[in-house]
Subunit: 363 residues, 2 copies
């Protein structure tokens, strides 16, 4: 809580994801962000909330998530006031999600700085992350700036979006101008991005003032702005839940990057390098969690012979692995996944097949 | 039941194996021979018994096995008279096992022909097998012959012993002289065996008269013969179980091939080719059981994407496999095995490790 700031600071944790790429541990009734995938007993959303301590007061932390997950959030984050838990009646991607939070925060705290954070990322060097977030808050507080946290890329990842950035005359030290957003590249393009030194990973973490974001939405997503205005007008009245239920699903489904930031001016980035990972699929665990001397990530009762660079997520039950390389094994009570690491993107196909087969109990 | 035979015919099913290479399905309390590894609901010992129908009357079928498995045998083969179930108080390999059975059969039926069959092999063409066994019985009935069933090798298997054979003046058509037994060869040697046309796989199935076998044991394994004589003298008396308990463990542990057949004269083989497999380890299932169009053996609720030549042995629980090749997945309530097919020989290492770790409940 930085005394030099002129405005209050709120944080919005976006926790509406389904985490299907982490099936079968991540399930419809308890997706990825509510699991301790790293195996230390602390769930991803709990880690996200804990990291904010010292930066944002608990009463200023908001969670936006699917109505079905309210109980999970209350159980895992009892410190957050119930009125700060915002229910999305339907998933409408990040632009409407952040607009809803911005409207509620603006109503309660005025033109506060809001930090926007996904609930399901892992960060190895938490102190370094906090430093970058503090500077993002300061940069957002200082002007009409939309600030995104960029990550210095450590390898040519093809699963992330990239930010092209350059030095800016008007920005303070360590803050850069965003020139362009780039969709997930192919490997060759990713390599050229990394080599150029001109690109950052798009982390999905942002800081801006509520008024700055709501103005940008009004300019670039008027349909979202209109409904957001209606929601704001009934915020903290008995009508709020009903209007939210009726109006929110009418919003278009659009991401903040595509719908707002790509068209916005005064867009800045603060590059950080703090062991960030969006933990997008099972292979990510090998990057972000502790592995044995053979590079195996082990969660559960695992016995290995001649096995390397594998990922084991089990439970009390013994998993015996022999002669495996680059294999993912995830065991749960009612479903077992065995998957080649380079085919992990097809985990989603399994969930699609199960849905088609009417086997929703396994989702 | 061939009317042309001069002697009664008995069959001995050897069912004392531990089947550790089929862990974790095969367990100390219920090893391989009592499981339906092929997934059709009929266990391996039930298949072995059923194949004998038409060849040997049920009252002439004997089972020799570990005392612990008596209940399993009674449950799975209720047609066999209880007095034909012979309990080995300790495992002493095949020579003493067959000697015990020969002594009991000789006491009850005199110089009968006895067929000796392992309980845990699979045979694809059962009618062809029956034909070969009939001819083996006839050859055993016709003289002082030790007859072994050889299998025309279809590929250079390194997991089997081989029989070198040649034409014999004294034997009837289709019966050949055994020149030599060969231990499990390396791949190059196995290839030369198969190419030469002079070698057969040693199937572990035999036929001979009780007197011929007991004479051979007397000559080559006098210590076994002496104890066998003592057991025979009390057979079908109230003392039998006690004497068996005391005396049988004193026998040396020795296989019939190494202890008797390698030294015997009048040793013949009948070559057969009836889709025989000793199902020595998990990869064998792909050879002997039905596979899908991608060569996957599937037992249980299995969903595959881009997966070929794998072996899945599960249960009611869903197994989702993605991008796998040549992988074995065996799921049970308390242990899961995931193993590269070419490392399947190390399944035994897992059971050894569990024994060392005092985790006998998983064996």
């Amino acid at each position: 809580m930085n005394d030099a700031l002129t405005r209050p600071v709120a944080a919005v944790i976006m926790a509406g994801g389904k985490g299907e790429r982490f099936w079968p541990k991540s399930r419809t009734h308890c997706p990825k962000q509510f699991l301790s995938l790293s195996g230390d007993g602390e769930t991803m959303i709990q880690k996200t909330f804990r990291r904010l301590k010292g930066l944002v007061a608990p009463e200023n932390v908001y969670v936006v998530t699917n109505a079905d997950y309210m109980t999970l959030v209350q159980e895992q984050l009892p410190e957050i006031p119930e009125e700060n838990l915002l229910r999305e009646p339907a998933a409408r991607n990040t632009a409407p999600c952040i607009a809803l939070a911005a409207a509620v925060i603006a109503k309660r705290c005025g033109d506060a700085v809001m930090l926007v954070l996904p609930a399901d990322h892992l960060i190895r060097h938490e102190d370094l992350c906090i430093d970058v977030l503090s500077r993002a808050i300061a940069a957002a507080d200082a002007g009409d700036n939309l600030v995104t946290i960029g990550i210095t890329p450590s390898y040519p990842e093809t699963g992330y979006g990239y930010i092209e950035f350059s030095r800016s005359q008007s920005a303070p030290t360590g803050v850069y101008q965003v020139d362009c957003f780039r969709e997930k590249p192919d490997l060759e393009t990713a390599r050229s991005y990394v080599e150029s030194g001109k690109f950052l990973w798009n982390s999905g973490m942002f800081a801006w003032r509520t008024a700055v974001y709501l103005d940008a939405v009004k300019e670039h997503l008027p349909a979202v702005a209109e409904i957001t205005g209606r929601l704001q007008s009934v915020c903290d009245t008995p009508d709020f839940q009903r209007v939210l239920q009726e109006e929110f699903p009418k919003m278009p489904s659009v991401s903040v990057d595509y719908g707002v930031l790509e068209h916005a001016s005064r867009l800045f980035t603060i590059p950080g390098n703090f062991g960030w990972d969006d933990v997008g699929s099972w292979p990510a665990l090998q990057r972000v969690a502790k592995t044995d001397t053979n590079g195996n990530y082990r969660n559960g009762d695992v016995l290995t012979i001649g096995t390397k660079n594998c990922i084991f997520a089990g439970s009390d039950k013994l998993i015996a692995a022999i002669g495996l390389e680059d294999i993912i094994v995830v065991d749960t009570a009612d479903a077992l996944l065995v998957c080649a690491k380079d085919a992990a993107q097809n985990v989603k196909k399994v969930t699609e097949m199960l849905r088609e087969q009417g086997r929703g109990e396994l989702l």
